[in-house]
Symmetry: C2
Subunit: 375 residues, 2 copies
């Protein structure tokens, strides 16, 4: 029996247009080590948006086609086309992660063992009704936990755990996190509390401070406050944090963090050093919520670094044993430490509606959509 279902596709065309559409896909029979998952729930993460929407100007979006098979198009500013030169004309499937039920399995024991089980998977192409997957890539979701609860079992849980692992591997002992009231940020708070790690949270709004304090966060600094640099420096002196993960990328925030880290480090120096402190300070940029240029005012000596950071290279370096250890911890904590919260559930067709795209394209902290492909 072959499985046929709807799949969302994103395409960028030569005439500076992004086009989202739904197509029908028939899956081949699974290989011995594969399973077919009926996708029940798949989230729209910030990390999905670049492939889904590219650099399109969403204010120009319009919908054509039929209600069952809508087509959303939007203009891409000409100067942004360089960013998507590598995908011109290609019809690309989208969706990093999700969860569903195994409805067919290959002949291997590993695949057969998953038959009828609810599994979480990551591997792209999840905005679809069916997904064929290697059995070993499936995370079995414990009985009593729903597909919706398991849908975000990979990106945010793995990323927040990987931040803590990176901290340990690189010799730091406490963390700074920006855009800290996000789903990911809340998860990181719960992990740090569980593991006894000091975490300095940076947010932009009083209500975000509130969310984190209610979660038990001890250090919350508001970057729009007049006393931000003073508050941050005080928190850095108390925690000794010398590693930050920054979701914003643009603007002056990364540089301010390094500057306050240096001020904190210099406080404990007894002798003047013209080259600054000998305390190494690192900011990893893992998102670009702020697309304006990043400005560094290098007044923090020579012991500093800023760099890109992404989950995939981390996992490649970490190896399979560490990854299984992380996956086991996540599976056990899907309803607690690694729980995600959604503000809306939508169908695949609704994902292409003007109303929905206007909201999820903004990546507003607190807003998170869950796609239900079987609706």
């Amino acid at each position: 029996m072959a499985f046929t279902g709807t799949q969302l596709r994103s395409r960028v065309t030569q005439d500076n247009t992004l086009e989202l559409s739904l197509i029908e896909v028939t899956l081949p029979d699974p290989e011995p080590d594969e399973v077919i998952v009926q996708v029940e729930a798949t989230p729209i993460n910030p990390s999905d948006l670049f492939l889904l929407l590219g650099p399109a100007d969403i204010s120009t979006a319009r919908v054509s086609g039929t209600p069952e098979s809508p087509v959303l198009t939007a203009d891409i500013p000409a100067k942004m086309m360089r960013m998507v030169a590598g995908r011109l004309g290609q019809s690309l499937p989208v969706g990093n992660e999700g969860a569903g039920v195994v409805v067919a399995a290959g002949s291997s024991d590993a695949a057969q063992a998953l038959m009828g089980k609810t599994v979480g998977i990551a591997g792209g192409e999840m905005y679809a009704q069916y997904r064929c997957m290697k059995a070993y890539m499936c995370m079995e979701i414990p009985a009593g936990t729903s597909a919706a609860e398991g849908a975000s079992c990979f990106v945010n849980p793995m990323t927040s755990l990987a931040m803590v692992e990176t901290m340990r591997a690189e010799g730091h002992t406490a963390l700074v996190h920006t855009a800290a009231a996000s789903n990911l940020g809340q998860m990181l708070n719960r992990i740090c509390i569980e593991d006894g790690i000091e975490l300095v949270n940076i947010v932009r709004k009083p209500e975000q401070e509130e969310i984190l304090r209610n979660l038990g966060a001890k250090y919350v600094c508001n970057s729009t406050s007049d006393t931000f640099l003073k508050d941050l420096t005080a928190a850095l002196i108390e925690t000794g944090a010398t590693l930050a993960f920054d979701a914003t990328g643009g603007g002056k925030l990364a540089s301010s963090i390094l500057s306050c880290m240096e001020t904190a480090a210099v406080q404990s120096m007894t002798e003047y050093n013209r080259y600054g402190s000998d305390v190494y300070k690192q900011v990893y940029v893992y998102g670009l919520l702020d697309r304006s240029p990043t400005t560094l005012s290098i007044n923090y000596g020579f012991e500093w670094g800023i760099g890109g950071w992404l989950l995939t290279p981390f996992l490649q370096k970490a190896g399979m044993t560490k990854m299984i250890e992380m996956r086991t911890r996540i599976a056990a904590g899907l309803k607690t430490t690694f729980a995600s919260h959604y503000t809306r559930e939508i169908s695949l067709a609704e994902t292409l509606s003007l109303q929905a795209v206007a909201v999820y394209s903004k990546q507003a902290t607190g807003e998170k959509f869950l796609i239900r492909p079987q609706l």
Copy 2:
């Protein structure tokens, strides 16, 4: 017999003033493992200037005192005083490196063996007529090589060798260097030619291009040229360089280098990756010739890093064996690979003259002063 001689001192006072002066210092007798070096030649390196002049506004400099004992003072802009808060009121000796003759030695064999020899030393406080030093810190300069030829035996040679060592240690295979026509840059060119390493030189003026081409440099890009980004990308594709050492720090250059490296890396990719190439690209900032803010336009994926880089932490990590290996290579090449060129020789008193400070404070490429403390 006690040695008494002149020493240059730099002091920053509460009233926003920098003060350079000469004092008489009498050295204690050397300990068993120490020698006393009569300093014959000591260069003014860019790395000396921050301690020597701090952030003083040299256009405000004036000289008082006597011709034999001049005092140079200059104003420090109020907003810069924060940078020198750690040294307020302290009278600091200056001068990273130099060479001279051992005129007294402690009782140990190692110290006695150096008696009468010409040695190169690094360890600060070299802008002086005499310097007491541990014997093991002295690099014996081969017969036939003068103190003037050995004066720059440490900072530039060690730094340029350390750049190549860093390249190897971090898995890169070719280099980019900015402000590349400097004494250091010329040295790096000679090392890279000797070692068969491809080096992409970035300069700002046609005459600097000329200097490097005459040295045999294959890749020289002028950052003020209209075709700079194209030229740089072409050189990066040919060389595969993914590591740059940047002496300028400020402005857009570091970001442009990363951007061109990414363009070069993407050229060899067969499949579109929304996160950019998986080629890791690094810029190390080792100087701040351009004090304007550093601006990053992050369009090079997530596999990138920018960071401070300094010789001292490199040497601490490299260990004594590596350092001796580097020192041996330097001693053998002081007249060739590691030769420095000076545009002027001045006395300690002249170092405090308005005429001299106006020139050496500018750190112009090609200008390099040698202090002769015995004049």
